[in-house]
Symmetry: C2
Subunit: 186 residues, 2 copies
């Protein structure tokens, strides 16, 4: 069977990230991707993870400590727009657009700040690095955000980036899909 | 780097087709996919390949003979709609929609017959089997055909099929993209 879209995103990241590299989880949520990335970069690597909700930070911190992975992770209670201020070269950046599963569905990512965060992320992405954007658009602001992100990606220079859209198109209920942006190696 | 869409299609097929199975090349063209499939199913397998242009048959026949693969291939000078009349269980079916590279660009696949051929193909696809549809839509009838095929795929039952759309979205010149339809295993 075709893999689900989250598995596809992780596979693309696994194929590109080396042990010891710096990676970013732009939308920590319940910390699933943070844990995945922390395992991937190993002890010598670094994960920088963002969320604006204290409950996301608390839950992720707890999970990382239980797994013995907290040493390599920096948790930031801040908007993912703050990627702008990072002075790093990231091998991978993960976004999950939508709301925190199990949290307040009224608190969602929003088109304008998401676009700014993606722009900032692309500036710190190393050559050959990858940004994955999982788009959960089954919420009030979801359709607007989806359109905005797709429109932004359509315009990215094909000399610098290659943007993959990976979607199962005969699904009901506005199934999530994946955008994966690879910065071309120089 | 992300693989090109043709490589993606072939990988999906390679992962699903067993030696000795029957597969279909719905749009023979210059025979590239016919040769690929003939190697894949090996001596005990069978490839049935369609084209309405005699030059496609002649060229593919010649290439197969030179490669020693002609024994397992049946070349049909007929529309891919004739898939309807086949009494087989196919493990894979490949479509390239557009015109014959290097041939007459006025002779292209057309929406209505393409949809009928895809429908027929899905009827003979075995559980767990896959149909790949490469859509080259940079020709006069291309946009109409693309829209029709996508609309058809959107409506396929998700209980029976899973339809993947795999597309690089920041490309110029109406770059080809892939639809891959997997019949769920029973």
């Amino acid at each position: 069977m075709f893999p689900n879209v989250l598995e596809v995103a992780r596979k693309l990241i696994r194929e590109r990230v080396q042990q010891g590299e710096t990676v970013i989880d732009a939308t920590m949520g319940n910390g699933n991707d943070t844990l995945f990335l922390a395992q991937l970069v190993q002890e010598t690597g670094k994960v920088i993870a963002f969320d604006i909700q204290p409950q996301a930070i608390a839950k992720t911190k707890d999970r990382l400590e239980r797994e013995g992975l907290a040493d390599r992770v920096e948790l930031k209670l801040a908007s993912h727009e703050e990627i702008e201020s990072l002075n790093v070269q990231a091998a991978a950046i993960m976004f999950n657009l939508g709301y925190l599963p199990g949290g307040d569905k009224e608190i969602t990512t929003q088109a304008s700040s998401t676009i700014r965060a993606i722009e900032s992320g692309l500036r710190v992405l190393r050559p050959g690095g990858i940004m994955t954007v999982m788009i959960y658009w089954g919420h009030a602001a979801g359709e607007v955000e989806k359109e905005a992100v797709e429109a932004f990606c359509h315009e990215l220079s094909q000399l610098e980036f290659l943007v993959l859209k990976y979607q199962y198109i005969n699904q009901q209920n506005q199934a999530p899909f994946l955008l994966a942006i690879e910065r071309r190696a120089q």
